[in-house]
């Protein structure tokens, strides 16, 4: 009895379908590698080696951290396309401060935080105070940051000269082959934090309310404008953390260090079940989405797929994952028809007005 209850709870979980996709893809990659690449020798399957697993986790953590705050923003009905270029701008800016201005790692990090939060607040102010779409405003900021990046770097890399390694290159060796990198620890910790905020605080409930029905949220006493502003401020904090990790890992401020990140992040969030219209989504879905995308890249690499084809296959898999989520959500609302009838009656009565 208890078992069947738990089972129902598991199958009804909103992240079930994306989790299944994850499992299917993991199995598919293992099988493909086992049969096609390793000549049926299970001990040689690189994909499931502990070292590879810890590498995948490390590779996804920067995208993952950005995806966490993007989840906030997208549940509230907004979007931010500027995050990738902001990372380029702030990351190269930090490298510049460390190398040329020589103000040291900690002050540089603090300055980076002020800059990301500051710019995000400016953008948030514009988005929340006007009726402009966050899509187009953040697209504008994307271009601004691109420009700043080139003004700082002139298109060249700026090395940090071996400084600023703590965030990206600290490892915890759990076993001989499996080590947990600092970025992974930060990513998981932040995921738990965001989960807690979304589930157990008024702040979290308001994120959903603002995205679900802005008018009703306003009338329920939520200062929608300031709330949106706050969300972009928080986004700035997460971008700062992600940028520092990226810079620390690379050891150099590369003008392309965040290139295309926004697409990766938005794809992960949407694959994780957050809808673009807002009001729906959750952080574990995002977590799985991030893993899924990372695993697909890693798996295709191990299988030795031509990198150009990897783009194609990744795209196909993303569309597949999103379609599956869509289909399962359709099935979940099987009472849809009934509600439509109710609505029809309500509207036809309203027509008499």
């Amino acid at each position: 009895m208890r078992f069947s209850n738990t089972w129902r709870k598991i199958t009804k979980n909103e992240n079930m379908s994306v989790f299944l996709v994850l499992v299917v893809i993991i199995v598919a990659i293992i099988l493909a590698e086992f049969f096609a690449v390793r000549n049926l020798d299970i001990t040689k399957v690189a994909f499931i080696k502990p070292m590879n697993v810890s590498n995948v986790l490390l590779q996804v953590s920067v995208t993952g951290i950005l995806a966490l705050s993007m989840t906030f923003i997208m549940i509230s009905g907004g979007i931010d396309l500027s995050i990738g270029q902001m990372m380029c701008f702030v990351g190269t800016g930090m490298a510049f401060m460390i190398k040329t201005v020589r103000i040291g790692g900690f002050p540089t990090a603090l300055l980076a935080l002020v800059v990301t939060v500051g710019f995000q607040l400016i953008m948030g102010l514009i988005i929340s105070r006007t009726k402009l779409e966050s899509f187009i405003v953040s697209l504008g900021f994307l271009s601004i940051y691109r420009g700043f990046t080139y003004l700082i770097t002139n298109g060249r890399e700026i090395t940090t000269e071996g400084k600023f390694t703590f965030l990206g290159r600290t490892y915890f060796d759990l076993t001989e082959n499996f080590r947990l990198a600092m970025p992974v620890v930060i990513f998981v910790a932040l995921t738990v934090l965001v989960w807690f905020l979304l589930r157990y605080t008024k702040f979290g409930r308001r994120v959903y309310a603002v995205g679900g029905n802005e008018n009703a949220a306003y009338l329920a006493g939520i200062n929608v404008k300031n709330f949106r502003l706050l969300l972009y401020g928080i986004n700035g904090v997460f971008i700062a953390i992600a940028t520092m990790i990226q810079l620390s890992r690379l050891g150099t401020g590369n003008p392309l260090m965040g290139e295309g990140k926004e697409i990766e992040v938005i794809a992960a969030v949407v694959v994780g079940g957050t809808i673009l219209a807002g009001g729906k989504g959750n952080v574990w879905g995002t977590f799985i989405g991030v893993l899924l995308l990372g695993i697909i890249s890693n798996g295709l690499n191990i299988l030795g797929v031509n990198p150009h084809w990897q783009y194609v296959m990744r795209g196909v898999l993303i569309v597949f994952a999103v379609s599956l989520t869509y289909v399962s959500s359709m099935r979940a609302s099987s009472i849809d028809k009934q509600s439509k009838e109710v609505k029809q009656i309500a509207t036809s009565e309203a027509l008499e007005e």
Binding site: R205, Y208, G221, G279, E353
Partner: protein, 495 residues
Amino acid sequence: MPEKLILEMKNIHKAFPGVEVFKNFKFDLKEGEIHCIVGENGAGKSTLIKMFSGAHTPDKGEIYLDGELVKIANPRTAMAMGIQTIYQEHTLFPYLSVVENLFAGNEMVNGIILNRNEMIQKTNEVLEYLHSQIDPLDIVGQLGSGEQKTVEIARGLVQDSRVIILDEPTSSFSQTEIDHLLTVIKKLAANGISIIYISHHLEEVFKIAERVTVIRDGISISTYGSQEITEQKLINDMVGRDVSLFYKRPAVPIGKVLFEVKDLSGNGVEHASFSVHAGELVGIAGMVGSGRTELAEILFGAKPAESGEIHIGQKKVDIRSPFSAISNRMCYITEDRQDTGLFLQHTLDKNIPIATYSKTSTPMALPSEDIKLSEKYIKTLKIKTPSVLQQAMFLSGGNQQKVVLAKWFATNADIFIFDEPTRGIDVGSKEEIYKIIVELLQNQKAVVMISSDMPELIAMSDKVMVMRGGRMVAEIKKDEISEENILKHSIGGSI
């Protein structure tokens, strides 16, 4: 006037799921005649227009055009027959010019090239005929609402309309705009175009009508020629429901003044003053567009007030946002529950506690507490739902409305503002909502109820304030509340 009938309706029946709107309806329109239609909110005026314009088709009955039986299946056939409908809200393309609007879907062409000059010339002719100063190349969205109405009429003329139907054309018009429009309408009629004119404003009706038909509950009650029209006759015909069918609410002792509004202006409302005692229900009556919802919005801080004071208990309060309204123990149940009340895709335990968050200072919102709170209100308000984890969109209209009520009851408010609390819900749920409201009164809450539903206003109110053109034009005491009295003030011939 030639006495030729151009349009005629006979034995029209029309029902919507659950309600019969039109029974045995008849109506006729002569060539070159201005025929006005009056009736209360919800009498069926809009549905009638929609049957002429092809937006609705009658379930039974005949429509004759020039004595021939016709079927108006959709708006396109109506237009082809020369019936042009000008709806209350604008139906123009705001980013296009006047010419483009006039000929949209009906452009003059040379082969495949638009014949722009000819269209502009034709537009000029029509505008001149209407004595209008509008330039054919003006962008419609930049014109005033009076001018936009003129453009809509011009569109009808360009398309050789024989019948023009105007639904409440003058809402949001200034007096000069109204006068201009009425002159234009008279001119059209003199040239043989037939006009159906629907208005809440009896003074306009008196000025232009050749005949007036009063409709009530989908029945044509009477038709008068221009000589016979009097305000008294029209109002008598518009009212007349069977009082014994009204909900009977128990009396509740009325306490001290709890909520007082002094000379409040802003958001289209001018100098509104009224007070509500504990245990008292004050009804706000008025036609659609008279400023009732606008009043509620400034009371609740959703729109800014320009001047005036609000007192709660003995204290003057400053309400600048819904948040401060909630902190002052107010709540506002809006007229459109789907648009401004509910989070449709969210479950009930996410819908019901949301407003309580504005009252407590803890940052936490524990799911278990939210579920407990929601279940409590699902039980007390008898919300029919399979579980607290049901999404709001899957509930019926009546139950959705109860979810909105639960959301506000959970805040422990003292002052309740209802805007059309029972619109679009079935009779059974209506009564349940009335019972819930009476319970509030018994608990010595103050209730303000905006309603277009006359029986509801009359049965529930201890006092009715009537609004008109953004002002409170009358205060009707308990024993003087009647449909007739309310109507007289809300549409009467003189202010």
